[in-house]
Structure formats: C-alpha cells, structure tokens
Amino acid sequence: MSTTDLGTARLGDPTQQRADRAIVRRSRAGRVVIHVCLVLAALLSIFPFYWLVAMATQSTAEIFGYPPKLTFGGQLLANVRDVVTSIDLLDALLNTVFVAGASAVLVMLFDSLAAFAFAKYRFPGRDKLFVVLLVTFLLPGSLSLVPSFILVSRLGWVGGFESLIIPGMANAFGIFLLRQIASSSIDDSLIESARIDGAGFFKTWWFVGVPMMRGGLAFLGIFTFIAQWNDYVWPLIVLVDPERQTLQTALQSLNTIYNTEYGMVMAGALISVVPLIVVFALGARHLIANIGAGALKG
C-alpha cells in the first residue's frame, strides 16, 4: 500500500503519517473493528453495482422470481441485443462521448486561460472581476430552467448538442480551482524570463502555464467529463428530437417504454455506467484528492 500512503501524505502535512501511526498504536482488536465497519460500509456502497450486473445477466422471468436470484445468469448477450435492437443506445453513447469530451476540452481551455490571467498578471479591474466570479457561485442553476430553455430555443439550438456544450464551457469553479494552483505552483521568474524571451501572454500560457497546471487540468477534465456524462435535467428539456439523445435521456425512455422488460433495461443501465467507471478508475486518485482539497480552499 506504499502508493496510497504516498498519495495521502502529499495531500496533508508531511508529518501526518508519523502522527497517524501514533494515534493508532492500539490493539489488534481495535484495528479489526475499524476494518469490519469500513468493509460493511464499502459493501453497501458497491452492492447496487453488483446487483445491476447480476440483473443485466438474468432474464426478466428470473428477475421477477422468488426468492430473488443473487448470482449471475447467462442472459447478458441476449439482453444487450434486445437493447440495441429496441433503441439507439449506441448512437446515444457516441453522442454522450462527444458532448462530454468536447465540454471537458473546452472547459480546460477557457478555465486555464482565465485562471492564468487572474493568478499571474495584474490588469485594471482584476480583483473586482474576480469577486464577481466568486459571487456567481451563489446562483442556483435550477432557477433558470425555463428562461434558459426559452433562450436556447430563440437561438435555434433546441435539439442540438451546442445547447449542452456552449453554456457551460467556462465555469467559476474551474477558474477558481486552477487559479489557486497557478498562484502557488508557477514561479514568477519563469513568466518573467518568458517575457524577456519575447513570448506574449498566450505563448507564456501555453508553454509555462499549462504544463505547470497539468495536475489541476487533469482533475478538471475528468470532473467535467463525468458531470456532463451524468447530466440529466437539462438534456431532458432541450433534447426534443428522439433521434438525438444522450445516454441518460435514452436510458430513461428505455425505462419508461419497456418498463416490464427488466433484463433489457438493466443491460441498458449497465452500458451507460461501464465507460464512466473506466474513466473514474483511470482518474480516481486525481479526482478524490482534488475534491477534498477544493472543499478545504472553498
């Protein structure tokens, strides 16, 4: 477990580990109790995923049977075939990859530009503008569902993916987070020497700022990708064309139209969850570390 120990040590105080060891220089029994509690909680956390996989491999008749069958069945391929022939889940999957991927790239681009300017340059109005940015945190999103829909429909974007990508392609959360990182990790002398070498703002951002912010950028990219992948209310409102849906809205129509064919619905749910778990597995360490650190700073 040396890698995880490294990960946590980096988050907190370097003397933390020594103290941790001191705190729990306690009986073996105490340690067993801690693990029993944590394992129970972890099982509760994971069980719905296990159950999703189990049901996706069973036929609808097996799912409806009593007592409930807790093991895997052999129907996974049949269920997946049913899903694919019933609705365009694969199209929805590609749409979602496109929307989530484009959003992540654009957010990383625009947020890092703004964060770099705020952290490393002085320009008139900078501090006031940053306060405005912080205040925008306070506006709840669900307040503007109706007028946002009207606005997007006036722009002619209803049904299109630009309505999902463009409104969120720069956000206060990411700018705030990256600015913290840029302030503390980019040395002013680097920027000064870039300036002496004749590099303008954008060149300096690309060659000095982006490499120094890459940890935060990776987090922001993964975070945005996951958030867009899972977004439901807004796509539900604007994606009016049944041929152009994201995974979440397609899954919900599958759920309401075929609500008695459980095996198939579960296979659809499984398809919508697996790619995301892969992304999470790849970026889990970045994500978990930054979620905690972001809360501490905010």
Partner: protein, 331 residues
C-alpha cells in the same frame, strides 16, 4: 497571497507609470481581457439573463406559444394557496433533513476511521466514492428494482424474515424513505472524502498534546476533531442544502413507473419535490409563468436556509465577538 507577490514582481510592462492612461489599458492588457472574457460573456448570457428573465416571467401568464399576459403578483398569490406546491415543499424538506443528518454523521464516522493508519485506504476511498460518479438515472433504475413492491430484493428480504412487506414505491412515507436512502447512498462517500481532507489538515500537535493529557479517542474526537472541522462541515452542510432543495432526478426516474401521472412523484404525489413540480408545471403543463414563480420561491427558500446554516455552523467565537462589540456600542 501569491497574487499580490506576483503583482509586486510583475509591474506594468516597461516599468512606466503605475496608473496607465485609460486609452492605453486595452492596448496593453487585451490578452488578459480576452482570456477572462469567455466566462463573463457566458455568465451574462446563460447565467444572469435567464435569472432576471425568469423574474419577469413569474409576473406573467404564458404557455410558451401564445401572447405573454402581464398578471402582476397573481402567480405568487396562487402559489401561496396551492396545496400541491406546499406538499412538494414539505416532501423536499422531509427528504432533505432525513437524508442530510444521517449522511453527514456517517460521512464523519467513515472519514474518522479512514484517517486512522490502516491498510487499503486507497481501495476504501474508491469504493466510497464510486456511488457519486455514476449516473443517477441508471442507479435510480436499480433502486427501483431493489425496492419494487412485488419482486424487489428489499421486500424479498422482509418476506424471508417473516416481516410484513412495505410499499416502498407506492405508500407516502415509504416513498420518502426510499428517496432518503438513495440520497444517503449516493452522497455519504463524497462527504467522507471531504471530511478526510479536512482531518488531514488538522495539525497533529493538537492530538499529541491531548494524548499527553490522557484524553481518550472519543474525547479527542469531540474536543479537537469536530471544532477544527467546523469550516469543512459548513461547506458540506451548504452543498447538501443546495443539493437537497434541488432534488429532481431521483424522484423523477424512480417514480416514473410507480403509478400516478408522469412527473408527479408517484401515488399521491408523495415523492413530488419542488424542482420536480417546477419541471411538471413548465414542461408538462406548459405554464411557464407559474413555473418561474416556483423557481423564485425555491430561490428564497434556499437563501433562507443558507443564512440559517451559516449562523448555526459559523464559529462561535465570531458570534461572541459580535455580541461583545454590540454591547460596547450600546455603552
């Protein structure tokens, strides 16, 4: 802090006068303004304008297609006497309190256990965080089957134990309980990760001193951990409030097939939340004026709770100071 130091080392470009002439500002700083512009443009168009426009809409009667009629405060007047709205408010508050209290308690407990020097810390954290990253639609479908009245796992278990079965998705209180369980399942790990980061930032000298004084683990938890975590707890309470008041996906997906009209929160509207009611009025009834009034009522409610939270969790020293200052002024 770092920004002020950078300002000190990066004075105006060619070392000219401190306050540049207005005309020169854009010429000199345009790259920085271009860099920050996207956020502000997007915020004005997709953030501020819709909020202001929704206030205007709340003063009108409009179905989205015909002429807009200005009706003054009539929508708000109707809202005050609308039993369906107040039912949604009550449901939302019950689900919010019922989930937030146990959720934050368990999160703190899990974080405290994870903070002990134990093995498999990384694996535990991934397991606890997993519910938070997966789509609520898929997981609401899974919960819908676990808590299904006829064939669900929950009732199967109760039947096996010889206990009476529960109408998880069909009876008033059970519907709320199912929604509460879903929220707890999804957000406990997320909050535990945040608390864990907070625990790791507490200076260890405090614990060392307490141990020298012979304080038990529980005593250390109550006297050091909880007070030092107060700002982090405030953060989680505020985010839980915003999240709890805007609950939508869980009831919308979970109760879509549970009887009653679509988007009505199940039988008897027992799972109807404020945002679901707003959605219902806007996009199934096409009553945009009334939906906007609901949105503003939610905004007022959220602000009230944000202020209350702030007061409750804010450090007591600050409160004492203010009282003292007030006393001083009176004298």
């Amino acid at each position: 802090m770092a920004s002020t130091s950078s300002a000190a080392t990066l004075p105006a470009r060619a070392g000219t006068e401190d306050v540049p002439r207005r005309r020169g500002v854009l010429a000199r700083y345009w790259p920085q303004y271009v860099a920050i512009a996207p956020f502000y443009v997007l915020f004005l168009v997709f953030g501020l304008f819709p909020v202001a426009y929704s206030f205007y809409l709340s003063l009108t009667e409009w179905d989205g297609a015909s002429e807009i009629t200005f009706v003054g405060l009539a929508q708000y007047q109707y809202l005050l006497g609308d039993a369906r709205f107040w039912n949604a408010v009550g449901n939302t508050l019950i689900i919010w309190v019922g989930s937030t209290v146990p959720m934050l308690f368990f999160a703190l407990l899990i974080a405290f256990l994870l903070h002990q020097n134990i093995r498999f810390k990384g694996a535990y954290r991934i397991a606890f965080f997993l519910p938070n990253v997966t789509s609520m639609v898929a997981m609401a479908i899974v919960f819908g089957s676990v808590f299904s009245d006829s064939f669900g796992l929950a009732n199967g278990l109760l039947r096996g134990l010889g206990l009476p079965e529960v109408g998880w998705l069909t009876e008033g209180w059970s519907i709320k309980l199912t929604l509460i369980l879903m929220v707890i399942w999804r957000w406990t790990g997320y909050n535990a990760i945040i608390y864990l980061a907070g625990l790791q930032a507490i200076p260890t000298e405090l614990y060392d001193a307490a141990k020298v004084d012979g304080a038990s683990t529980w005593r250390q938890f109550v006297s050091i951990t909880v007070p030092m975590l107060r700002p982090v707890i405030l953060f989680t309470v505020i985010t839980s409030t915003i999240g709890g008041l805007s609950l939508f996906t869980e009831p919308q997906v979970l109760l879509a097939n549970a009887g009653g009209n679509e988007n009505s929160g199940g039988p008897g509207e027992a799972g109807m939340t404020i945002v679901l009611y707003q959605y219902n009025q806007a996009f199934t009834q096409f009553d945009f004026g009334y939906a906007s009034a609901i949105a503003w009522a939610l905004f007022v409610l959220a602000s009230v709770f944000a202020i209350i939270n702030w007061r409750l969790v804010r450090d007591r020293e600050g409160l004492v100071d203010r009282r003292r200052r007030r006393g001083g002024e009176a004298r």
